[in-house]
């Protein structure tokens, strides 16, 4: 028979969820009014896991605390990851992983403001982009084209997992590919 908490236990669970929600708010520095949503998220996650709780094996309190902690970690990661992707940056900020290039260097002038926000460019720009890519690919050594074909379907990570080539070799090839595309005038390759 599935476990059903009593009213007193439910009240205690809500107070615990409130404390964990406040901890998330302090950690992530988010507004206080998010507490109710966070509490509901924690409780919903706990109630979904109650089918795995056996009263004969332990107390509800520690079980709930463990569930809340795990869920809090996931929520915190999600909030911080979302904040990182939406954090305002300057075009003059250095581009991570590149040598001396800025964020602005990776945005082509023809792309326009929308490209900075990840919006699709217009049709004419798309055609010009295709022509540029065609020209750039034509400058690459023929032996790199199979790698380019693979990269249209798979991420470097997936390619590294599926390929017998070592990850270090693959990423060395990718670096060389990026530099050659940069030479060919494809700035986003950086």
């Amino acid at each position: 028979m599935p476990f059903t908490p009593t009213r007193a236990e439910t009240n205690a669970l809500q107070r615990s969820a409130d404390r964990v929600a406040l901890r998330i708010i302090r950690t992530c520095r988010i507004p206080r009014h998010e507490q109710e949503d966070l509490r509901q998220d924690l409780l919903t996650d706990l109630f979904a896991r109650l089918k795995g709780f056996d009263p004969a094996r332990g107390e509800l309190g520690p079980f709930a605390a463990a569930c809340f902690d795990h869920r809090a970690i996931r929520l915190t990661e999600r909030i911080l990851r979302g904040r990182a992707t939406m954090a305002p940056i300057s075009l003059d900020d250095p581009q991570p992983g590149s040598e001396g290039l800025t964020i602005g260097d990776s945005v082509a002038e023809a792309d326009g403001y929308g490209a900075w926000l990840g919006q699709p460019t217009d049709a004419f720009a798309a055609v010009e982009r295709r022509i540029d890519l065609d020209r750039a690919l034509g400058t690459l050594p023929a032996e790199t084209l199979p790698l380019c074909a693979e990269l249209t379907e798979r991420s470097p990570h997936e390619l590294a997992k599926a390929s017998p080539t070592s990850r270090a070799t693959l990423y060395r090839h990718l670096r060389e590919l990026r530099l050659r595309l940069l030479v060919a005038g494809i700035p986003a390759a950086a």
């Binding site: 001396g100 290039l101 034509g138 400058t139 084209l145 199979p146 530099l179 005038g185």
Partner: protein, 118 residues
């Protein structure tokens, strides 16, 4: 001896390989960049260089990239003596040759899984 450099765009140190490639990507024929000043053979050698090793390796990458672009016919590499063991090394962009057309289509076609006839 002429010590005035005019009409050249001096690289802001340190010039990295990526920055050099980015320069060429946006260069028009005739554009020039100073990719090193000093004595390249000495400055790039681990036995004789006086700069930190990371900086020396970065210089070596730039020099090798410049040489590769020259071998591909994309730049002229020239030197100008400024003094004893003091040269400026310039890369001058050349007109680009026509590249192979239709490469993008062949790459995209190669990426698609082949359909099997029923």
């Amino acid at each position: 001896m002429d010590s005035t450099i005019t009409g050249f765009r001096s690289a802001e140190p340190p010039l990295t390989e990526t920055m050099f490639c980015a320069w060429f990507g946006s260069a028009v024929p005739g554009d020039r960049i100073v990719y090193h000043r000093g004595f390249l053979a000495v400055d790039a050698s681990p036995l004789t260089s006086t700069v930190p090793d990371a900086e020396r390796r970065a210089l070596l990458r730039v020099a090798e990239r410049a040489l590769q672009l020259a071998e591909d016919g994309l730049v002229h590499l020239v030197q100008r003596r400024m003094g004893e063991s003091d040269f400026i090394y310039l890369a001058i962009a050349r007109p680009r040759a026509r590249s192979r057309a239709g490469t993008l289509a062949s790459v995209l076609a190669a990426a698609k899984p082949m359909s099997v006839a029923a």
